[in-house]
Homo-oligomer: 219 residues x 2
DNA sequence: CTAAATGTTTAGGTGTGACTAAATTAAAGC
DNA sequence: GCTTTAATTTAGTCACACCTAAACATTTAG
């Protein structure tokens, strides 16, 4: 399988996680991959032939078992390389994603498994996302919630983000919300949904939109 | 630049090293890359437009300064990744080449330089080839020779190969000729050019063809 | 020094993955 | 339930990197 098709599988996988409907529609895939819906339709047909997705006209696509395994394998590689870049090469939190986008397409099961061992089988990547094991199994039994869904006086630890863009990560670092940071929700503003919280020592206010992209492990 | 074009530059570079003529002809490039001469001609024109090679009809191509730098950068990445695979992930000597062929195309100067530091700036790769520094400069001032060109009673240390194929490397390991192995030429057979030598304790005989692919640092 | 053999280029074609514009289908509003 | 709007697909192009077959240049041999 090539880079392009792998990116489609990855996109469908990640959209499926958030969506509650079984099939993912053409335009959301197109949006995620910065492509036109017409191009997506074509590709979905090709992936259907390869039995990687189930495709229904005007409904969209759904990953087959084979497609899910392929997607999980790419995600596994992506996250392992992120750990490598951060822990071994000392890249910063917000720099690893882009390079991992390239490294995730390297084909060698042996390489992936040896890298996993070399990194001492990490269970989470630098953004707090769980790393699938060599069988594609994710074990993430942590009690997590989006910051936006927490109630006043609830507290927890920052364990991940849903948006790995450099701008967002830089912003978080700026306001002292980094991986492992303990936080407590002080107040939620009804009028715009923004949240006031304590991060470490400091009191910060965060927009509803940002809060929807921050994952917290509840105490 | 893409993977395909990078492979052309690499091929031209490596053919230039062996060849004494300035321009590398179409068919030798085609042979090296397992492609047809017609495809090579087309690509050389594209590389010419990008000022990566100088191309002369019916003569072939020659790397420009820009093209040489690009080729050296790919070679640098290839060799650094080989060191990583061998030293850190404990791959075997003959397994690293294929994976490095993929890794060498990852685009990130920062990554390459950090990898270089992480590996403690190695000067040679697992096959004994020198690694260009970040400016594309190769410093290889060792007194080396091909095994096939050594005289009787000369001795030295095995420091590299000219053929990185898995079959050849496995064969060398089998007969105890590995990197760093001390050898001494005992005899050269006039009738077929084969060489008898001591490798460590053992006495082995090696064909002329194999000897042409083994690099020895002379004592 | 010419003719044959060899190597190289040109011309035309293929598969892949993208695009735009037009046609079709599905969903939403009245 | 029909009509308007939005989403999706189809049809027709394009760029890219490869191919084959035919035309053309260069080298080699007699």
């Amino acid at each position: 399988m090539n880079t392009s098709q792998e990116n489609y599988l990855k996109a469908i996988y990640s959209l499926s996680e958030k969506s509650d409907s079984e099939f993912i529609n053409t335009s959301s895939i197109a949006h995620k991959l910065n492509m036109k819906p017409a191009s997506v339709t074509e590709m979905l047909k090709k992936l259907e032939v390869k039995k990687l997705v189930e495709y229904k006209k005007y409904k969209g696509a759904k990953l087959s078992e084979k497609g899910s395994q392929a997607a999980l394998n790419i995600i596994r590689k992506h996250r392992l390389w992120e750990v490598f870049l951060l822990k071994k090469l000392h890249f910063k939190w917000d720099e690893v994603h882009e390079i991992a986008e390239q490294l995730e397409h390297i084909q060698s099961k042996e390489l992936t498994d040896r890298l996993d061992d070399f990194l001492e089988n990490p269970r989470f990547d630098p953004h707090g996302d769980p790393i699938p094991d060599k069988h594609g199994i994710i074990t993430d039994n942590r009690n997590t919630s989006l910051l936006s869904e927490m109630g006043v006086k609830q507290s927890g630890t920052m364990t991940g983000v849903q948006d790995s863009s450099s701008i967002f990560l830089k912003y978080l670092e700026r306001i002292n919300i980094t991986l492992g940071q303990k936080i407590e929700v002080l107040d939620k503003m009804d009028f715009d949904g923004s949240i006031i919280l304590v991060a470490g020592e400091k009191e910060v206010s965060i927009s509803a939109q940002a809060a929807q992209n921050i994952i917290i492990r509840i105490n």
